[in-house]
């Protein structure tokens, strides 16, 4: 290597940064050497390493919400130094040392990334007082959702299933409770949240739009603590503490809703149920300086039951084991074994039927980070995911049921990948990050594969101009060990930063990503019973290319930060559905799919104020997302006659303003304002009637059918709301161990009836045609009591 000749003069400083109070490791802490304008950050396990020429240095260790630490260090040999950071209390924050934090951020080629502090999220006003990570990130530029009550989120025009959601590296397949009203993350148990919208590093793959990387806390290594909260919808409790002081710790956090209790209290509703709960667990051991073990688990469930009509339950569960090993003070490694499962269960007792579907995977990966020199780091790794898809199993739930047992064939696949990525500082102004990921997808046997006439699973009926299922010729059974279809993806990643001066940077990035599994959902908002389908003979992987360009500026000594980004993204092989197709219990999923493509572009502006009594940000996004489905052969109508149509989650304008104000030690206030263009929708341009029984003299026997025009041609009314919150900390004695706070909030202060949907139908009582607006959340006041002990 080029720096070989200097090797004997260079020494490595490495170690871990943690929180003083709890010994909890900290992710993304800046370790900066202001004299030479260089620095590094701690990785996802709190580890840092920097290699420098022999000498005397000043170190600045800084992290948002913590007191900046300054330390002189003489580097004349390889050194292991751990740093402990103190939480910044409100009165200290005013005299905070200028940290150069953002200057170093400017240097890094990383852009299109958001790091959101859990503390910030906890202070935001939210629906019914439930702290919600997914709702909070929607206040950032480029991130939206289809609307209230829609599960998941959309990043830069991506669909909900194009987000890779990781909790302690385990994939989650659904991010919401109660059909999208609340997210599944218990904020108390969360340490760090990072969202990638673009320039996605090579170590991530498998989804084409974004990565939401969430890490759970390890647990307090010094003493046992309780954290909890009591709200209107749910309550939470977390216990954390050392197993062996300073060596190992545990964390168990639970959250449960109690709508159930109210239902049970009334004799009328006691047989009904409506609840969600989740459980976060973690256990970790510091075996020695070079070896650490982590076990973590997540279990979440939603359940509904309606007396003897139906029961319904669904949720994610994950379990993983990770082993951190330092091969040297410059080579960090992590080996993970991760199991993840999403399951959906429905019992329809009134017809005597059970339905079960889901997706399971086992993920094995080995990641390395090599801190070559202060200007050069290298990441590389290998991984493999084994998938087991259960598209659905129907079984009779009682003896006299009319339902026959029907198990749709299970599907299997393996997704191996390998990547390498380098980050280099070329000179004072220029740094780059480049990487390559090679992914592949092997669809395995263990099921029957259908063959169709002309190899067409979907055929176009030219007379009626409709799509119909293809004609099955025969089917072939392949054994479970056989690779039936294989795909390979070459995914280059590139990012560059140019810094003309200390406070400004221009950045650009490009990535290509492959997604091999697809969420099959034809509803406007994805629903929990939607199933995942693997790529195969008739379903190709989705391929995204995204280019982004950004301008970043620190204003007034880093008091404000301006970020401007623009992006262009295309996705190939995005699936849409032929009309009237049965998605549920569909054993030949390929017969309902129409492949298309999507493109999106936009401009994102954000202005942040990170310091002072008044903090917050304004973000605005101007964007466009459209899809096109042309059909497979010439003369087909495709969808919308083959013309581009707006995606349902396309929001032309998206403005959010969020702020918090610290009035005194006791009182803090927060406010959010959100304004978005209404969702793209299809409205009828006429009606016709049919009279099935032929009783034409009876007008109420006429069924009025709306005639729908071009897809997504219209817009729902604009979506906006203002929310406020106040946090009161009544602590008189700071030395008291029990710390409590009250959070009062009002969601949708001016009671705007935002339309989640507008539907068209015949009034059941009058038979007259009407436009019906569904609006979900009006004004909602709430309060929560949080405590720490």
């Amino acid at each position: 290597m080029c720096n070989f000749s200097f090797a004997q003069n260079n020494y490595t400083l490495s170690g871990t940064v943690f929180e003083k109070e709890s010994n909890e490791t900290l992710i993304g802490v800046n370790i900066i050497l202001p004299e030479i304008q260089k620095g590094t950050t701690t990785n996802n396990y709190g580890f840092y390493s920097i290699t420098l020429p022999k000498g005397r240095y000043t170190l600045e260790i800084s992290f948002l919400g913590y007191k900046t630490l300054r330390k002189e260090i003489v580097l004349d040999q390889n050194k292991k130094t751990n740093f402990a950071l103190d939480i910044a209390s409100e009165e200290i924050e005013e005299v905070i040392v200028r940290s150069n934090r953002n200057r170093i951020l400017l240097k890094k080629p990383e852009m299109s990334v958001h790091k959101v502090g859990v503390k910030t999220i906890k202070e935001m006003p939210v629906v019914l007082g439930e702290v919600d990570i997914i709702k909070s990130i929607q206040l950032l530029p480029g991130i939206t959702s289809a609307g209230e009550g829609a599960s998941g989120f959309n990043v830069r025009g991506g669909a909900e299933d194009q987000n890779l959601i990781l909790l302690d590296e385990a994939t989650l397949y659904s991010s919401s409770h109660f059909f999208g009203f609340f997210s599944i993350f218990n904020a108390d148990a969360i340490k760090n949240i990072k969202l990638y919208k673009g320039g996605i590093p090579a170590k991530y793959g498998g989804r084409v739009s974004s990565v939401l990387d969430i890490y759970q806390k390890d647990g307090n290594k010094k003493s046992i603590h309780l954290t909890g909260g009591i709200g209107l919808i749910s309550s939470r409790l977390m216990v954390e503490g050392p197993v062996q002081k300073n060596k190992s710790s545990f964390l168990v956090a639970g959250r449960t809703s109690y709508v159930n209790m109210f239902l049970k209290a009334s004799p009328k509703t006691k047989d009904n149920g409506l609840s969600f709960y989740d459980l976060n667990t973690k256990l970790n051991f510091n075996i020695n300086d070079n070896n650490k073990l982590y076990f973590s688990g997540y279990f979440g469930r939603d359940s509904f039951s309606l007396v003897n009509l139906f029961k319904n339950s669904y949720g994610n569960s994950t379990f993983n084991l990770r082993w951190n090993h330092l091969y040297s003070d410059q080579l960090f490694s992590n080996l993970s074994v991760i199991y993840s499962n999403y399951n959906y269960f429905l019992n329809l007792d009134f017809i005597g039927m059970d339905w079960d579907s889901g997706i399971k995977n086992l993920h094995l990966k080995y990641d390395f980070k090599q801190y070559h020199s202060e200007d050069h780091t290298l990441r590389y790794g290998i991984g493999g995911i084994y998938y087991h898809f259960n598209p659905g199993e129907i079984s009779p739930s009682k003896e006299n049921s009319a339902v026959n047992l029907a198990k749709l064939e299970q599907k299997y696949a393996v997704e191996p990948s390998v990547y390498v990525e380098a980050e280099r500082t070329l000179n004072d102004r220029l740094s780059i990050n480049y990487g390559l990921r090679i992914s592949s997808f092997l669809r395995m046997g263990g099921q029957h594969f259908y063959n169709y006439t002309n190899n067409q699973p979907v055929v176009f009926n030219r007379d009626l101009e409709i799509y119909e299922a293809g004609i099955v010729l025969d089917s072939t059974y392949h054994s479970k060990n056989k690779v039936v279809k294989d795909f390979y993806g070459v995914e280059p990643r590139f990012a560059i930063s140019y810094q003309p001066d200390e406070d400004r940077a221009f950045k650009a990035n490009y990535h290509r990503m492959y997604q091999y599994i697809h969420l099959i959902s034809n509803t406007v908002s994805a629903a929990p019973l939607d199933v995942w389908a693997p790529s195969g003979h008739f379903i190709k992987p989705q391929i995204a290319d995204q280019y982004a360009f950004g301008y970043f500026k620190n204003i007034q000594e880093e008091k404000y930060r301006l970020e401007l980004e623009t992006y262009y993204k295309t996705i190939q092989n995005r699936l849409d559905y032929r009309n009237g197709a049965d998605l549920i219990a569909q054993k030949q999923i390929e017969t309902i799919l129409l492949p298309g493509r999507s493109r999106s572009y936009g401009l994102e502006i954000s202005l942040k104020k990170n310091e002072g009594e008044l903090k917050g940000w304004i973000s605005y996004t101007l964007s466009k997302t459209a899809q096109q489905v042309k059909g497979n052969t010439a003369g087909e109508t495709g969808i919308n006659n083959g013309v581009w149509y707006d995606a349902p989650y396309d929001k032309t304008h998206d403005l959010s303003i969020t702020g918090s104000y610290q009035l005194s030690k006791k009182w803090q206030f927060g406010a959010n304002f959100v304004y978005q263009t209404g969702r793209a929708v299809t409205y009828p341009n006429g009606r016709f009637t049919t009279n099935i029984s032929g009783n034409y003299e009876e007008p109420t026997n006429n069924i009025t059918v709306p005639i729908y025009g071009n897809r997504n041609e219209f817009r729902l009314p604009a979506y906006h709301h203002l929310d406020i919150s106040a946090t009161y900390k009544p602590n008189k004695n700071l030395k008291r161990k029990w710390k409590g706070e009250w959070v009062f909030s009002i969601y949708n202060l001016y009671n705007r009836k935002n339309a989640a949907a507008v539907n068209f139908r015949q009034n059941q009582d009058t038979g007259i045609n009407e436009a019906i607006r569904t609006s979900i959340f009006g004004i909602i006041p709430s309060f929560t009591y949080n405590f720490k002990f």
Binding site: G147, G149, F179, S266, P267, T269, D271, L306, V307, N308, L309, F310, F350, I394, A402, V403, N404, A406, D463, L464, N522, T523, V524, N579, G580, I584, A585, P684, N685, G686, R687, F688, T689, T690, N691, I692, S693, G694, Y696, T700, N701, P706, I707, Y708, G709, R711, K753, A756, V758, N759, Q762, Q764, T766, I768, N769, A771, R773, T774, S775, I776
Partner: protein, 270 residues
């Protein structure tokens, strides 16, 4: 999967709905062919009616009937001519008194309108019998509702498609379902209704239609458009029937030509 609807969602969202005044534009006028040939069991099925109308704006309450040049159904050497009724309860509709229904026989509809010829071809489908009815009580959210089951046996080893129409003095609009026998092939099954408005003495009538796969798909899509489920509704789409404009394919008609055998049963609430 006929009952696989988002009951939960309907329950959750029904309370947050209101009627809004939303202006809509109207597309170009098109011919609507409502040709439902119904042959009730134990009748001769000679009398049949076809309605021809034009599309209208979504909020319009009535249909505008139109005059065709000729309307007939042919099958083999038979030709059944439909004549426009100028008076009586079927005024403005097209009617024949000589139709001959036959299960699994193929029929072709021809409509000549404004110089253009529209055709559609379909097979008449038979239906199994409704065996008997049962009445029970079902608890829905603490309320006791009456449930009526109309029992039938699905013929095994063949694909069957069904349409049910529930009619009662207890509610204004008829209730419809379409389903297939994929998961109940050869089994005893029932068509049921659970309705909190049903009282002792009310009559519930099931009209049970045997239908073709194509008509099943069409009606399934049609009902999805007619009964949307808030944010979990499927993406709205055009409902394209089986009638073709032979003269000018671009000017597509709406509606369907289908032929069904029907079994009917009335249950009086006890």
């Amino acid at each position: 999967m006929r009952y696989f609807v988002f009951l939960i969602v309907i329950l959750l969202f029904s309370s947050c709905e209101d009627v809004i005044d939303l202006p809509l534009t109207e597309g170009s006028k098109r011919l609507v062919i409502d040709a439902n040939i119904n042959w009730e069991k134990e009748t001769d099925g000679n009398e049949q009616i076809i309605r021809l109308s034009e599309t209208r704006g979504f909020y319009e309450e009535t249909s505008v009937l139109v005059d065709a040049d000729s309307v007939y159904i042919s099958s083999g050497s038979d030709k059944f001519i439909f004549a426009k009724q100028t008076s009586g309860k079927h005024e403005g509709l097209y009617k024949t008194n000589s139709f001959i229904p036959e299960i699994e026989r193929e029929y072709t509809l021809v409509v000549k309108y404004k110089g253009e010829t529209y055709t559609a071809t379909e097979i008449l489908k038979g239906i199994t019998n409704i065996k008997d009815t049962e009445q029970s009580v079902q608890n829905v959210f603490g309320k006791n509702s009456i449930r009526v089951d109309f029992n039938y046996t699905d013929p095994g080893q063949e694909e069957n498609y069904y349409l049910s129409e529930m009619n009662s003095n207890a509610f204004l609009l008829n209730q419809y379902w379409v389903w297939r026998d994929e998961f109940i092939d050869g089994n005893d099954d029932s068509v049921f209704i659970i309705n909190e408005d049903l009282k002792v003495g009310d009559a519930v009538t099931l009209s049970f239609y045997g239908i073709s796969k194509e008509y099943h798909d069409y009606m399934k899509l049609l009902f999805e458009q007619v009964t949307p489920n808030g944010p979990f509704a499927t993406t709205p789409s055009a409902v394209k029937g089986n009638c073709i404009n032979e003269t000018n394919p671009k000017n597509k008609p709406l509606g369907y030509f289908r032929l069904c055998q029907i079994d009917k049963e009335t249950h009086i609430i006890k």
